[in-house]
């Protein structure tokens, strides 16, 4: 049943029409990670050495030593302003997108749970739009970026406290193969 569902969900994902982003640009496989929807790190044909990585390679996206492995931008309450502290992170991502013109990014905006679901969806959109605009100013192309909202539907934290809500006022950046 669960397997059947998973297959169905995958089929649905693959057959959904419209503005579906292009299929994941996975590096050639040959390693063990074959799960759909996740970018396999180090899946290039060349072995990745421990002490050196290419900042503009796909592997950098998952390498904890790379700023590209950081994907979340947090917002203040009732705010859509991208704070200065995220400028260098966004600059790294914009630079990566410019260097990898075939790469696409889905930016998912999120809101805390208080209030109407649909209104919160619109609030999350304002956050993802702000991230998109910042990335464009820093060199990413508009057609590489899609800003969407998950509203209050995918909270990172579910406690009813301000520190928890702060984690949910968030923009997440996903690359081709991750969405």
């Amino acid at each position: 049943m669960r397997t059947l569902y998973a297959l169905s969900a995958l089929a649905l994902f693959l057959t959904a029409c419209g503005s579906q982003p292009p299929s994941p640009e996975q590096a050639p496989s040959g390693v063990e990670s074959r799960s759909p929807g996740s970018l396999s790190s180090g899946s290039t044909t060349k072995p990745v050495t421990q002490d050196k990585f290419d900042e503009m390679s796909l592997a950098a996206l998952k390498d904890p030593r790379s700023p590209l492995s950081k994907r979340a931008i947090y917002f203040d309450y009732d705010s859509y302003l991208v704070k200065d502290e995220y400028q260098s992170l966004l600059a790294s991502h914009a630079k990566f997108l410019a260097a990898n013109p075939k790469m696409k990014m889905l930016i998912q905006g999120n809101a805390d749970e208080r209030g109407s679901r649909e209104y919160n969806l619109a609030l999350g959109q304002k956050r993802s739009d702000a991230v998109k605009k910042a990335l464009q100013l820093l060199g990413a192309r508009e057609d590489q970026l899609e800003s969407v909202s998950l509203g209050e539907e995918k909270p990172a934290c579910t406690e009813l406290t301000e520190p928890c809500w702060a984690q949910n006022r968030r923009g997440d950046m996903l690359y081709s193969g991750e969405f």
Binding site: L4, Y5, L7, S8, A9, A11, L12, F13, T15, A16, C17, G18, S19, Q20, L106, Q108, R114, G115, S116, R117, E118, Y119, L121, A122, L123, Q125, K126, D129, E146, S147, V148, S149, L150, G151, E153, K154, L174, F179
Partner: protein, 427 residues
């Protein structure tokens, strides 16, 4: 007062090329009456004559229906009463019953049952009407609800709600299910199961389809789902977010919210997804569109004035008119079926509460004392409003009469229930 309703899960076919799965729902909705009308009409539902087991099953559902409505007080009839012999009016009067229903269940020639019912006015000692129903054993509950609707309409002058259905979303760990159940919570069926959220389901005016927003593509996309065939199609999947569907009263188009041109803005789109056109332009957020019952206006939430408030504009396009002024957060407008009032969610001292505005006098009544109300939905007769709220940290559904007196709660054990929508009357 607590009614435990039994679960009779049915499978509805819904496989389209392996795209998604419909299955019997595991969760059981429990209906709890939490408030009653001040003056309730005393009614006796007598034991029916004839086929004893069937008759008992029918009358127990009818009694539960009428009791749950909060408008009636059930009185023991004291005797079996059929639809042909005049009931013992004197005895019923001493039992303080204002109305009594009697009937019989017989076998029809084709193996089905034939149930006959007659309703009487006890003080006037006259019959108010009679009905006959041919049905199978599996149509017991449906038949009982139709009898309840007949009794309700004869005694109140309004259509009953016992044969209507509701849809809602059940969230359990890692799983979202769009379910459809009878208005009493029985017979839950799953229309869609997903690992990703499902929000904003809403019935087509003919009751045959649901529009909703699903996040299965990692972003919100609007679908229309045909409940008979189990097939569905994408109505809006543009770049950005697609959400907040609302059916036009003729069922031919939907108002939706799209971000393809920037901000969250309201568009109209044909049900097949063609002919998308922008309805209005504002510098801020416009969302939660909802057609008035006559199709003339679209009510919506906008932050154009600095805080989220409810506005309306002509469905043909034009100038928006602000409707709510009190407070700094008024959202989720739902115009009543008669067009005279507006249900919505208002934030009062940090509490999100279901409120009702009389559109002529602008008078506002807060209908609940809860703190996390969401997603109101009028019953097709306008008498009750179904909504989502939270009790003990868990999502439950609740219904309140438009006068605020009758209150019910519908909950599923160990699961979150949310996003309710009341189906139109079956035609």
């Amino acid at each position: 007062m607590r009614l435990r309703v039994s679960l009779v899960p049915l499978l509805i076919a819904g496989l389209v090329a392996g795209v998604f799965i419909s299955s019997p729902a595991q969760a059981q909705l429990t209906v709890e009456i939490t408030g009653q009308s001040g003056k309730r009409l005393p009614v006796a539902i007598a034991d029916f004559a004839g086929e004893r087991i069937i008759a008992q099953a029918l009358t127990s559902v009818i009694r539960a229906d009428l009791d749950r409505s909060g408008l009636f007080r059930l009185v023991d009839a004291g005797a079996t009463i059929d639809e042909t012999t005049p009931p013992p009016f004197g005895d019923l009067k001493s039992r303080e019953a204002d109305a009594v229903a009697g009937g019989s269940v017989g076998m029809a020639g084709d193996g089905r049952y034939e149930t006959r019912v007659r309703l009487y006015d006890v003080p006037k000692q006259v019959a108010l009407g009679a009905q006959a129903y041919a049905h199978t054993g599996t149509q017991l509950r449906t038949t009982a609800h139709r009898i309840s609707d007949f009794i309700y309409e004869k005694l109140t002058g309004e259509p009953g709600l016992f044969s209507t259905r509701i849809a809602y979303v059940v969230k359990s760990t890692g799983r979202y299910e769009l379910q459809i159940a009878d208005a009493d919570g029985n017979n839950p069926q799953s229309a869609l199961a997903s690992r990703e959220p499902i929000i904003s389901p809403t019935w087509s005016p003919d009751g045959g389809k649901l529009a909703y927003v699903s996040f299965e593509a990692k972003k919100p996309v609007v679908y229309v789902h045909d409940l008979v065939s189990g097939r569905r199609h994408v109505v809006a999947n543009f770049k950005g977010s697609n959400s907040a569907p609302s059916w036009s009263p003729d069922g031919k188009q939907l108002a939706v919210v799209l971000t393809k041109d920037g901000n969250s803005q309201i568009y109209l789109v044909n049900v097949d997804g063609s002919g998308v056109r922008r309805l209005a332009s504002s510098p801020g957020i416009d969302t939660e569109p909802r057609f008035s019952a006559d199709g003339a206006h679209i009510y919506f939430t906008s932050d154009r004035g600095g805080s989220p408030q409810i506005y309306r504009l002509p469905a043909a396009g034009g100038t928006a008119e602000r409707i709510t002024f009190d407070g700094s957060y008024n959202v989720t407008p739902r115009p009543s079926p008669d067009g005279k009032s507006l249900a919505y969610i208002a934030r009062n001292n940090g509490r999100f509460q279901l409120s009702l505005m009389d559109l002529a006098t602008k008078q506002i009544q807060v209908l609940t004392d809860s703190a996390k109300d969401e997603s109101p939905s009028f019953a097709p007769n306008g008498r009750m409003i179904l909504y989502a709220t939270e009790v003990g940290g868990r999502g439950v559904l609740a219904a309140v009469s438009a006068d605020g007196r009758v209150k019910q709660r519908l909950s599923v054990h160990a699961a979150d229930v949310r996003e309710p929508t009341w189906a139109p009357l079956r035609k």
